[in-house]
Assembly symmetry: C2
Homo-oligomer: 469 residues x 2
């Protein structure tokens, strides 16, 4: 069984045959030059790049099915590729094979304004879809920071700054069309907003990182653009005070749209990178959506709660340009981290714990950083108990690399010990596979393995990610 | 393969051995008398009852695992049982075997108020959990009408009247503990509010109707009890007008907590059963949650939208007792239907379509009823495009039974033709299995089958439901 299932690097003959078959069918849309192949390996963070042998650019679901059938016939691994903005080695091709680049599948296929949904191809990015639908008065809220492709966002179960109000990709996909490892095309659900008709294959594919099939169409939930949006920032004396104010805000039922923590190191990075003059203390960035009066009321109630925990002054930014500047700074967290120590490699990672443990987890992590002499600004989607570190590593210093590696390991162990998860939104990829056994247990991981085996018996669909079969 | 997988009625010897083993271990908690066995068959609606051979009452996850191992050793089918309020034959035992009654597993194991979650055993009902946590200022919103067990609600992916605001069970379960068909215990997720760590086994089990494993612990999302709740009713000149007003309400971002349609026949049933004097025309029942001022604003905006579509007068019910009386009437839809024609059998069913098609679907269904000389009050979770019929059937009249059967078939066909689903929230059970192939396609249904086979290779876990393997 193991012998059949373990992925293998395809032999030269099989690869030549596949190349030949793909070129015969797709012509110039098949590329094998090294530059392009390297662009399709993992390129962010410190995970070593592992390039595919071939890159192909399909334009339709049927073309994806053809590619998959060609690859399956020769047992060649496939790796779906969107914008390449994942962090854990998701797009690497450890066994070589074919990178299926979805960037030509970038059409919005339908917008159903009355149903608050739209149907997109997987290469459409979140900014593109929002631009496309702007005239309808609707928007798609999920915002992981990068202008990621929606196929990639589905595959990694992305979320981001406003998940606290709008949920994650798992909550905002109505149905999917996907090509299975055998080339068959499935439709996971009707366009009804809810259903109780059988196993939830939509949610099985969301977060499956391309290991069970290739997503080729996505029906997304949309929302009315709020009548009013207001944003503000509020400094706090400690991370704990900021977290406690967040818990109280959410318990009070204030429907906050975003509530983001930046620790003192991150605020410093914002100041350097975005030329701001924020006080260098833990800070909450908040945003409220609603009617004019409800937004005002939400902000006032938040201000009062913040004050109870020593937070303030709460500074409003009602003008769109001020709001944009603040949130741009927040979105540039990754780049601003680099500004603290130019020349470093940025290692972006995330964990997520029950919100009651968030302050403990962040503070213990800060202490660990200090003790280990490492720098890592922290930003947190604090309403969800999720936080990110952008760890700065001098890749010329072997000792520092090792300290970083051990620190990251302790971070995950700390999260798991606090009933958390090894990743809130970045995904497993290659780098976090080793933590799944501890996060779940053998029987649970065996269920994941048996699902992978049932759907992909040849282990050709993004092999070497999530679970080893 | 098919031979191994098709469920079979256990032979007498195997059944005797299992009875012996269960009695040796669980004593008086093993029951085989006919009355109790019949209570554990499907008892609502017109699906014929198929009783199990044995009923057993476990008290812990470990006891469930023991029962499952005993049954698996003898290849005896198992059917998990909660409150028996499902409609599609979910609790029937077509191949006999053991009904595992979860009613002794009725403890709330933990409440984490700061994290807005609680951990319950599956026999706890939705009213029990809300009673238990009332002092915390939190509540669990999902309300399918019946005081169903939470295990059953997970298993059927239940939703109900306030899903439009709070989502369905798929959105409100953080993690599950379950016993697999081989007796192993799995934990589908940590207690973190979100995770991107591997396949979403939580969502795979939600809605799986006991066919993949037995749920033994549930971590539920909780919400702060709204500061203010207001409710009201609003008559409309037509179903279409009521649906259009609903679409506009939702598009406008009014965070309506419930928005329920009752057609003219249902309103008449309310009047008869609950001694009300409502005008007998299509009606929306609405409820708003929020702060005092936001609830008032929501209601005013709704009233204005309703008026645009000819709806009104909108009558408020701010006093809790008035609100309770109205919603009690709505909740008694099932019983009120009976009042229209005492002595009939009530056949409860549901479909769900994209909201833009809801008025068409309801109106075509009303016309079909008139043409077929059948009576079926209609209530709809109109914000989700989901509606219910309580079809009244004289079970003494063979012709009427046949007309009912054909009518129900056309109802599902109509929903599917409008990009809908054969069931929005009741589930597949035995009765809607025949529609899955049309709703999905062969490849999609094959994925469901292969998941079932991978997790339950002996087909002993609630066999004969959802998919035939």
């Amino acid at each position: 069984m193991n012998d059949i299932l373990s992925a293998i690097r395809p032999d030269v003959v099989a690869l030549e045959r596949v190349t030949h078959a793909l070129v015969a069918r797709f012509g110039a849309r098949v590329v094998t030059n090294e530059t392009v192949r390297m662009q399709h390996a993992n390129t962010l963070t410190w995970v070593a790049a592992q390039a595919p042998d071939i890159v192909v650019y399909p334009e339709t679901t049927e073309e994806v099915a053809e590619i998959v059938k060609i690859c399956a016939a020769h047992r060649i691994p496939m790796v779906p590729f969107g914008t390449g903005t994942s962090f854990e080695g998701h797009t690497n091709a450890p066994f070589g094979g074919v990178s299926i680049d979805m960037n030509r599948m970038n059409a919005v296929l339908a917008v159903h304004a009355e149903d608050l949904d739209c149907v997109v191809q997987p290469g459409v990015t979140r900014k593109q879809v929002n631009e496309f639908i702007r005239d309808t008065g609707l928007f798609f809220p999920i915002d992981p920071g990068a202008d990621a492709s929606l196929g990639g966002m589905v595959s990694t179960r992305a979320s981001g700054t406003n998940a606290v109000r709008y949920g994650t990709m798992k909550d905002n996909v109505i149905s999917l069309t996907a090509v299975l490892p055998n080339g068959e095309i499935i439709h996971t659900a009707s366009r009804a907003k809810k259903s109780a008709a059988g196993y939830d294959l939509t949610r099985l594919l969301v977060g499956s990182e391309g290991t069970l099939g290739i997503i080729t169409e996505i029906t997304l939930k949309l929302y009315g653009i709020p009548e009013a949006i207001s944003a503000g920032i509020c400094p706090f004396p400690s991370v704990k005070a900021a977290c406690d104010a967040t818990i109280m805000t959410i318990q009070s039922g204030i429907p906050v749209a975003r509530i983001e923590l930046a620790d003192e190191v991150q605020v410093k990075a914002f100041n350097v990178h975005s030329k701001l003059t924020l006080p260098e203390t833990p800070m909450l960035f908040v945003e409220f959506h609603g009617s004019e009066s409800s937004v005002k009321e939400q902000a006032e109630r938040f201000r009062d709660i913040a004050a109870e925990f020593g937070g303030g002054p709460f500074e409003w930014a009602t003008k769109p340009e001020d709001r944009t500047r603040l949130w741009q700074a927040r979105h540039d967290a990754y780049w601003s981290a680099l500004a603290l120590r130019p020349g470093s490699k940025v290692i972006a990672t995330d964990v997520c714990v029950p919100i009651s443990r968030l302050a403990d987890c962040v503070e213990a992590t800060q202490q660990d950083l200090a003790k280990t002499r490492l720098i890592a600004p922290i930003v947190g989607h604090v309403g969800d108990g999720n936080f990110h570190l952008t760890l700065l590593c001098n890749m010329e210093d072997a000792d520092e690399i090792e300290r970083c590696r051990l620190f990251l390991h302790r971070l995950v162990e700390r999260s798991l010990a606090m009933e958390g998860t090894c990743t809130g939104e970045h995904g497993v990829g290659q780098e976090k596979m080793k933590y799944l056994l501890k996060e779940y247990n053998t029987a649970t991981l065996d269920v994941m393995r048996s699902i992978k085996r049932a759907l992909d018996p040849m282990n050709i669909m993004n092999p070497g990610k999530i679970v080893v079969v």
